[in-house]
């Protein structure tokens, strides 16, 4: 199936002014999103994944954030969102691209009934009457599987559990049938049993409405069942891109490899030591000039410390930024999975 690109981000750079210096949070990020697909952006806190999606939404604090609006580009169906000012973004935000956040409690207004909060969005963006909007709100609540929706619509956020609140957030985000849904760590604050339900819901709704989804998370396990493609971010850069299977079964960057291996599997027991990465990510006030992962990478070579790795492609969809794939690289003791040509 050939799908069109709905979003195309090119050479995005975002920095923040702080007292200690300028933090280069996002450094030259390129990616695209196709219609009806789910793209997962995976990385640790501070890697720039949230900043990237907030830039797409135009939600960065203006006094501190510096975005390269001239060289960079966020192409949303022919419109360059980086050139849009705040008033123009309001026609996009919440209507054509909407977002759900990590903490469903702080994202809902505690003094407003759930139904009114969903309806408000519909009234603003679609200019419907109040009754119509409420009817839509009720349908949305049913869509996200909230039991007794007729009753629940008149309740306040505190009467909902965490999982239910996240469902309400999803209902709200999807109320105006957006073309893109951005989910920023939607399950991090929830319990395991609820997490699974919310991920399933996002997957189901995505198939039903054919919305394109960008899923931002730090947990690879969460995205395994719902994502089509995965981008791994580290220190403000995307270091590996690939389909779900490529990333999980044939990672080509030591960081991706480490991320996968550092989560205990149910088959593991205490005798096998967990694979762990030493140290902490670099401070982006003064990012390393070579590969950002070099200081923590056990396969690091001298070149990694001094020069940014070039891209190596493994087939159409799989790319990695790592010196290990250079013909001259020292491949001693490097796990076979990292070097394998193509498996899938």
């Amino acid at each position: 199936m050939k799908r069109d690109k709905i979003l195309d981000v090119k050479n995005l750079n975002v920095s923040f002014k702080t007292y200690a210096g300028v933090v280069q949070a996002v450094r030259g990020v390129d990616f695209y999103l196709k219609e009806g697909e789910t793209l997962a952006i995976v990385g640790e806190s501070g890697c720039g994944k949230t900043v990237t999606v907030k830039t797409i939404m135009g939600l960065l604090p203006e006094e501190q954030a510096i975005v390269n609006r001239d060289e960079g580009k966020i192409d949303f169906k022919g419109e360059d969102l980086l050139k849009y000012d705040d008033t123009k973004m309001t026609t996009i935000r919440g209507r054509r691209i909407s977002m759900i956040f990590q903490d469903p409690m702080t994202s809902l207004n505690p003094t407003m009934k759930i139904g009114d909060q969903i309806a408000e969005n519909i009234i603003i963006h679609e200019r419907k009457s109040k009754d119509e909007a409420r009817k839509d709100a009720l349908n949305m609540l049913k869509l996200v599987n909230i039991p007794n929706a007729e009753e629940r619509i008149n309740q306040y956020p505190f009467e909902f559990s965490g999982g239910m609140r996240q469902r309400v957030m999803i209902a709200m985000a999807l109320a105006c049938s957006p073309e893109i849904l951005i989910a920023d760590e939607p399950t991090t604050a929830l319990d395991v049993t609820i997490q699974a339900q919310i991920m399933e819901l996002i997957g189901e709704l995505q198939e039903k409405t054919n919305t394109s989804v960008i899923l931002v998370t730090h947990d690879l396990g969460v995205v395994a069942s719902v994502a089509h493609r995965i981008h791994v971010m580290y220190a403000g850069q995307i270091i590996e891109k690939g389909t779900v299977d490529e990333i999980f079964y044939s990672p080509k960057h030591p960081y991706t490899f480490a991320l996968l291996r550092s989560v205990p599997k149910l088959s593991d027991d205490k005798q096998n030591r967990l694979y762990s990465i030493a140290g902490t990510p670099p401070d982006l006030i003064n990012p390393p000039k070579g590969c950002p992962f070099a200081a923590r990478c056990e396969f690091a070579m001298k070149v990694c410390r001094i020069k940014q790795p070039e891209v190596t492609s493994f087939g159409k969809t799989h790319e990695s930024y790592c010196w290990l794939h250079h013909p001259k690289a020292d491949k001693n003791e490097v796990p076979e999975i990292l070097l394998r040509e193509r498996v899938i």
């Binding site: 002014k17 140290g279 902490t280 923590r296 690091a300 001298k302 020069k307 010196w323 250079h326």
Partner: protein, 310 residues
């Protein structure tokens, strides 16, 4: 940059070096103590710095002003009464020929000292009761909070009038009268802070390590409430200066020959139509001092707010 990008990919640079332990735990940001960090943010606030400079000038003037002007604040000289400001008498003279600038300096000492003492009393009583109430909880908390409610609801002015009538119009009486009902707000504030801090894991960690109540107060609770207390102190001093000025203005303040800004303004007010400078200068001093304290207080509370930390 160029030279880096053009590094030749020679064989030897592909030598394995592995994890760099030092670099992987490296902290980029400079180390700042808490107060150094507060000072850094305070410095960025232009208005607060202006307030601090203004306050320093006022205090300096009050301290060395009398020496500079060369006049005595009580010397009566009927031949030069009610003069306008001049090179000899910078703020003019009053109805007994006394130099108003010198009197403003002496009055300022009393006003500011009363402000500081009242604030100190208020904080010593207020924060110790608040800390006890917050820490102990239960019936102790209940008792203290009931006392706070009763004292907080006493009519302030009536108490002041009665006290000054009984004890005479001395500085001590004024301080006592103003601080006797003032500490209730501080108690509430400190108690609230302590209740909030008590929930932090580091307090629990200290308890788990076997720390006693004294250590928890001195090492954990107090240092963490100090910021808020400091803001509150800078904001309370002008309140007391105003309070004293008001009491003096209605004739309940310090007794002559002692004077204060309020007493000076009270005297000047009777001559407002003919010699406005006699009211203007004491008032100016009060306004500038109060303004300076407020600017510093605002700057401090912003600098101490962790949410505004960048």
């Amino acid at each position: 940059m160029e030279s880096i990008n053009n590094i030749e990919l020679k064989d030897e640079i592909f030598e394995r070096v592995g994890v760099d332990k030092e670099l992987s735990e490296h902290l980029e940001k400079p180390s700042l103590t808490y107060w150094a960090d507060v000072w850094r943010r305070f410095k960025e606030d232009k208005l607060a710095i202006f307030g601090l400079i203004l306050l320093s000038i006022i205090i300096l003037t009050i301290l060395i002003g009398p020496t500079l002007s060369g006049h005595d604040y009580q010397l009566i000289n009927a031949s030069i009464k009610d003069q306008s400001p001049s090179a000899e008498h910078w703020f003019g003279t009053d109805d007994m020929g006394r130099d108003i600038f010198t009197r403003c300096c002496y009055g300022g000492r009393i006003s500011i000292i009363i402000g500081l003492i009242c604030t100190a009393v208020m904080f010593i009583i207020g924060s110790s009761l608040g800390a006890i109430a917050g820490l102990k909880g239960g019936w102790v908390d209940n008792l203290i909070m009931r006392i706070v409610e009763i004292v907080g609801n006493l009519p302030y002015l009536v108490i002041v009038v009665i006290l000054t009538m009984v004890m005479g119009r001395s500085v001590f009486a004024i301080v006592l009268a103003m601080s006797i009902t003032s500490w209730t707000g501080t108690t509430r504030m400190v108690r609230g802070q302590i209740l909030q801090l008590r929930e932090y894991d580091y307090i629990e960690a200290a308890r788990a390590l076997g720390a006693d109540t004294k250590r928890i107060i001195m090492k954990h609770l107090l240092p963490n409430t100090l910021g808020i207390i400091m803001v509150s102190i800078t904001m309370s001093v002008p309140g007391f200066i105003f309070g004293e000025a008001f009491l003096s203005f209605v004739g309940l303040g310090v007794r002559p020959p002692k004077t204060s800004w309020g007493a000076l303004a009270s005297a000047g007010q009777q001559k407002l139509l003919f010699y406005p400078h006699e009211l203007f200068f004491p008032c100016l001093m009060i306004v500038l001092t109060v303004l300076a304290f407020h600017l510093v207080g605002d700057g401090l509370s912003d600098a101490l707010d962790p949410k505004l930390r960048k």
